[in-house]
């Protein structure tokens, strides 16, 4: 998948699959392209090249008109519910809108459905007559979730759904998302920069760096046995809420480079000024399966010598 904006490749040659009832966590730092990827998957953006297949349907090049009936199946939850909810519509209108757009139900049925949705996300039915700004951040996110659920989608892209919330509210929303997945068999693409949160909700985790996937594995594997140097650094940087656990940190130099003028070879090798960087220019740094179910970029700058030898042979 590519998306071209002023010839910056925000997402570059990324491949991934999400299974039914599965959560794929997507982590990476700001500007790594994780949100762009999320938006491309629900076709809020049109990819420059590549293929997005939803079930049996290829939606990569579908027109907006053709994609509309399919949108029932894939929805999105945004980071800032205050910005993604229309302040001039009351909650009932916000939640009713998807049904109206898709021509579903009578007025009486829609009223019932809205009440059911509110109940499902833990809001009283009286919330329907109020406006989004009358709610707290956590409650607004519940409204955003209710709207995403309205059409009984199969996949929900959650783009930083809890990062604007206070910790005590964050856990309420995470619990709700996990429950809903179990009840409705939902698949999630869960995008976040907080690795502890991603670990908590995900079955598999994909790590992105400067528009490219660098490691994909089960949540347990990626946290217990990370292979890529960037994943290791990212994990070690998480502050641990335990004063007795003095974990050594891997301190990275510099910042994430700009996607407008990316390094020619390994982007992370370039940031670390790795001695083998020159070798990676022109090399295929795509993902390879190092052990069953554990994929890592074939990048000599970012792997242990042992892993690199293992991948080469």
């Amino acid at each position: 998948m590519h998306r071209q904006t002023n010839s910056a490749k925000a997402v570059d040659g990324v491949s991934l699959e999400i299974g039914t009832s599965e959560t794929l966590g997507l982590v990476g730092e700001s500007g790594c392209g994780k949100s762009t990827l999320g938006k491309a998957i629900v076709r809020l953006l049109k990819p420059t090249s590549g293929r997005i297949q939803f079930g049996a349907v290829d939606i990569t090049r579908s027109s907006q008109r053709a994609i509309r009936p399919l949108r029932r199946d894939f929805q999105m939850i945004f980071q800032d519910p205050a910005e993604s909810l229309d302040p001039r519509m009351n909650v009932r209108s916000i939640l009713e809108e998807p049904f109206i757009i898709h021509g579903l139900g009578s007025r009486a049925e829609r009223i019932q459905w809205v009440n059911d949705l509110l109940d499902r996300v833990g809001l009283p039915s009286s919330a329907a007559e109020r406006y989004s700004f009358e709610f707290s951040g956590g409650e607004r996110q519940r409204i955003g979730i209710a709207r995403a659920l309205a059409l009984k989608p199969k996949l929900i892209v959650c783009d930083e759904p809890v990062s604007a919330l206070d910790v005590s509210v964050q856990s309420q929303i995470l619990n709700l998302l996990v429950e809903l997945q179990q009840d409705f068999g939902l698949s999630y693409l869960f995008i976040a920069h907080d690795l502890s949160v991603v670990k908590h909700v995900s079955d598999r985790v994909a790590v992105m760096y400067l528009g490219k996937m660098v490691e994909v594995a089960s949540a347990e594997m990626i946290y217990q046995d990370p292979r890529h140097a960037y994943t290791k650094a990212l994990l070690s940087a998480i502050p641990t809420p335990d004063p007795r656990a003095k974990r050594p940190k891997i301190l990275l130099e510099g910042d994430v480079p700009s996607p407008i003028d990316p390094p020619l070879g390994s982007a992370f090798g370039h940031r670390m000024r790795h001695s083998r960087y020159e070798e990676t220019v022109g090399m295929d740094l795509g993902l390879r399966e190092i052990v069953p179910g554990h994929w890592v970029a074939a990048d000599p700058c970012c792997l242990s010598d042992e892993d690199w030898e293992c991948l080469r042979s």
Partner: protein, 328 residues
Amino acid sequence: MTGTSSYILEVDKLITSFETDRGMLRAVDQVSFVVPEGKTVGIVGESGCGKSVTAMSIVRLLPQPAGKILGGRILFKGLDLIHASDAEIRRVRGGEIGVIFQEPMSALNPIHRIGRQVAEVFRLHQKISKKDAWDAATEMLQLVRIPAPEKRMLDYPHHLSGGMRQRIVIALALACRPALVIADEPTTALDVTVQAQILDLIARLQSEMQMSMILITHDLGVIAETCDEVVVMYAGRVVERASVDELFAHPLHAYTRGLLHSIPTLGTRSKSLLNTIPGRVASLADHSHGCRFCQRLGRVPASTLGRPLYAEVSPAHWVETCPDCYQP
């Protein structure tokens, strides 16, 4: 006029209010804590708990004219900051007390070069020539580990990345080698790997320069890794205060426990239910005088009895002793 106490800062029963449409609201309601010399005190709490207002009260940078300090005492090296003259405050702020703000872009002037902004701090607080101030500023950029400092002196803030800008803000705050630094969410806007760099830098400079620090954050992980002592605030009040080891090992207030248990860590089982704190932080205007955490949980009894006593229940461990929330 240094006193004999080993505290560089003493905040005692501080009350800060804001004038609003709904009357005077106490954003900070009798907050007391101390900062021991050379130590880092973390203030943690959710948005709206008053942690930033407490910090801004110390350096008298409250939004004007709405914000007012209505009571209490703030002693910095024996100087009463609440009643100090504007001239005295200007000398202390940026001189003996440095402030690191959360959003580096708004702490820096977008239309002046980095060099001019850092040099200005030296010109304001020291009798020093322009040339010497420029050299001192270059040295400061080097100290915060900015590569090629001579070149960066000529850049504008928008030329730099978020992490580099935060280094500049740290350089500004530390330029006059302050005795106390107040860092208000210094890494919240940054990515985790950059956060780790900045926290490491702050810790190193703190020990090199022997500074005391107040670190305001909502992140208990950051608290655990950087602080010596912790102040937990809820709805304008301190509910618990202890050393970092003591607080994480033996939290005594229900709110502290709730906070500690609701964060997912790498150790929690995937998709298991997390503990939550029911309800939400109410608006300050809706709180009564009684225990405010009880009000969040919808508990009435203790709140009708008036404000719970804030007491030292074991050496250096202070708790708001609401009969329902204090769980020894």
